[in-house]
């Protein structure tokens, strides 16, 4: 007996290959280094030090991204048994890990511009951003509910602080409180679902019961045998509800406009891109893993959620003049389009390509739009209205182009990358014969063109005023120019990214 346990533990410890998590570990170490700078830096040289911290964070993340891509064979061991089955890697999780580092690089760039404007502490922001990124990367690789929950909470708690980061601003604090209350509520739902699944799957009276009820692969086998069990269905629904909160899908979308408006702009960008992407990917993984056998039960429910999400997001956004609320509400509708791809993934496994392509383009376009917000915004960034963008193109042609390309790609105008993303999603939905959802999505896209174009029109209208032209630094021009070129390029030759994904 003792021998059995010892050999079992030995086998487990052999599967602890820390090397495969080196990128995540380096991110965490980098975040600690950044905090260290604050301890030893002199207050008199604050400006130099802040710039230095930004460089360190940016270079570190770029180096880790390069490391991850170059050392792909050692950091992405698909199919091997890692950490006693806690971690499971595949080509899809590898892509998502790269995506999250890229997202966190973008947020770091936005944050450096925003924080010096708003005169907020820097090191803590970069620190939390890196930790959230590491949490996202662990989340997508987890193959067991304990690691899943802990890494999800690592992300969520970092986000609570990031949302309330502007602590002298009542709006930011209020947004933080709302996000915290609803986030904790959704975690409780998620947990109760996990517990029900764990409890029922270990029940010795049921066929195919397992002692490893948290393990995705064991759960999949159990649910396959007991797909009609009510507790299994309730548990699965509660887990999905908890993830829908991250995604911003109906009925957990109420927090989005308030939190997006109150949070500091880089945090809003982080919430809109990485957080949503994590929700999407986790949902795909759960639906193709443990909940696969429940597809007949879940597809109608998810279709209803998807329909309401698309319509709610678009209709609410069309009457909105506050830009951050507008981006939040239109983000809900983007979550709806992505849900369509997720439902299609039940029937067509290749729909991951379409979803990932859409997420990448959404990341790039959002980066442009939020970058523009940071350039434009003055004191009260939460109150920025569409009117503030009037005549932007004549004031600064570069910023105008940036806004038009970013918004155009979000709306899905033909030569831009966002169009291809929408086309791919509609294509997989067509293959999966989800005709009703395609109709709803088309209606949604038409409504979205209306409000995105209202914004673009405001930028293009000429306005005679004495307001001085808005300056943009040379470095920013290079970064944003590169992203603009990328969006146009991916719209013209989408094959580059698609072949990488495949």
């Amino acid at each position: 007996m003792t021998n059995g346990i010892t050999s079992f533990l030995q086998e487990l410890s052999l599967s602890n290959q820390w090397l495969v998590l080196l990128p995540e570990i380096s991110l965490a170490l980098l975040s600690l280094v950044l905090l260290g700078f604050d301890l030893f830096g002199k207050a008199s040289r604050q400006a130099v030090l802040d710039e230095f911290k930004f460089r360190i964070s940016l270079m570190g993340q770029l180096a880790i991204l390069a490391l991850l891509i170059i050392g792909r064979e050692s950091f992405n061991q698909s199919g091997s048994f890692l950490f006693g089955g806690l971690v499971e890697q595949s080509d899809q999780t590898f892509l998502m890990r790269c995506f999250f580092i890229l997202g966190s690089i973008f947020v770091t760039v936005l944050a450096s511009r925003f924080l010096s404007k708003a005169n907020l502490p820097k090191a803590e922001y970069y620190h939390l951003c890196l930790l959230a990124c590491a949490g996202f990367m662990l989340l997508v690789q987890s193959a067991q509910f304990v690691l899943f929950f802990v890494s999800l909470e690592l992300v969520t708690i970092a986000f609570y602080i990031l949302v309330a980061f502007n602590r002298t601003n009542a709006l930011s604090l209020e947004a933080g409180l709302k996000y915290l209350t609803l986030g904790a509520l959704s975690s409780a739902f998620l947990l109760f679902g996990i517990v029900l699944l764990y409890g029922i799957s270990g029940n010795p009276n049921l066929e195919g019961y397992t002692s490893l009820g948290f393990q995705f692969s064991q759960l999949q086998e159990f649910i396959h045998l007991n797909a009609d069990n009510t507790i299994v269905r309730v548990g699965a629904l509660m887990v999905i509800a908890g993830i829908c909160f991250k995604l911003g899908a109906f009925p957990f979308q109420i927090w989005i406009p308030d939190v997006y408006q109150g949070a500091p702009t880089p945090t809003t960008a982080f919430l809109a891109t990485s957080s949503k992407a994590a929700g999407v990917f986790v949902l795909i993984q759960l639906l193709q893993g443990p909940f696969l056998a429940l597809s007949e039960f879940l597809i109608p429910i998810l279709s209803i959620i998807c329909t309401i999400t698309i319509l709610y997001g678009n209709i609410a956004a069309s009457g909105q003049s506050n830009v951050k609320r507008l981006l939040g509400l239109s983000g809900i509708s983007h979550a709806g389009y992505l849900l369509m791809g997720i439902i299609a993934s039940f029937l067509i496994p290749e729909s991951f390509v379409a979803v990932f392509f859409y997420l990448c383009l959404y990341l790039l376009s959002s980066f442009l739009v939020f970058g523009l917000l940071i350039q434009i915004s003055q004191e009260e960034e939460g109150q920025l209205e569409i009117g503030a963008f009037r005549g932007l193109y004549s004031k600064n042609a570069f910023l105008g182009t940036m806004g038009i390309i970013g918004l155009g790609s979000l709306a899905g105008i033909p030569p831009l990358g966002g169009f291809i993303g929408k086309l791919l999603l509609l294509n997989v939905a067509f293959q999966a014969e989800l005709y009703w959802l395609i109709g709803v999505a088309l209606v949604g896209i038409v409504i979205s063109i209306y409000y995105y174009f209202g914004w673009i029109r405001a930028m293009l209208t000429e306005q005679e005023s004495e307001e001085k032209a808005i300056a943009i630094s040379f470095e920013d021009r290079i970064i944003y120019g590169f992203i603009i070129a990328l969006i146009v390029l991916l719209g013209l030759i989408p094959g580059i990214l698609i072949s990488i994904i495949q």
């Binding site: 309330a164 209350t181 509520l185 975690s187 109760f192 409890g199 029940n203 939460g382």
Partner: protein, 101 residues
């Protein structure tokens, strides 16, 4: 009469629902927080009961993770509440409605 798994799960579900009602209907932020804790503790109770009934340790160990995470969550939450109170002199959810549109 022996108390079995059903009684435990029933009371855990009841606690969870009471907590949920508290989060939805109470207006004082601190009471909302207590209700959230109640929901998490309902989860813990169910986990321990299932863990005992199913004869596996995983559930009992998961409880420690949940307690740690809940403690971290509350630490951040209380800090936000204190800052907000200094700023607005209220923590009633019905008065915290500056974000609207």
């Amino acid at each position: 009469m022996t108390i079995g798994i059903n009684e435990f799960i029933f009371s855990a579900t009841l606690l969870f629902l009471i907590g949920f009602m508290g989060v939805v209907f109470r207006r004082n932020t601190l009471v909302v927080y207590m209700s959230l804790e109640l929901m998490l503790n309902a989860v813990n109770l169910a986990l321990v009961a299932f863990s005992r009934y199913n004869q596996t340790m995983d559930g009992a160990i998961f409880v420690f993770f949940i307690m740690t995470v809940a403690a971290a969550e509350v630490a951040v939450g209380l800090a936000i509440i204190v800052m907000l109170f200094r700023k607005r002199q209220t923590i009633s959810l019905s008065e915290l409605n500056e974000l609207k549109g």
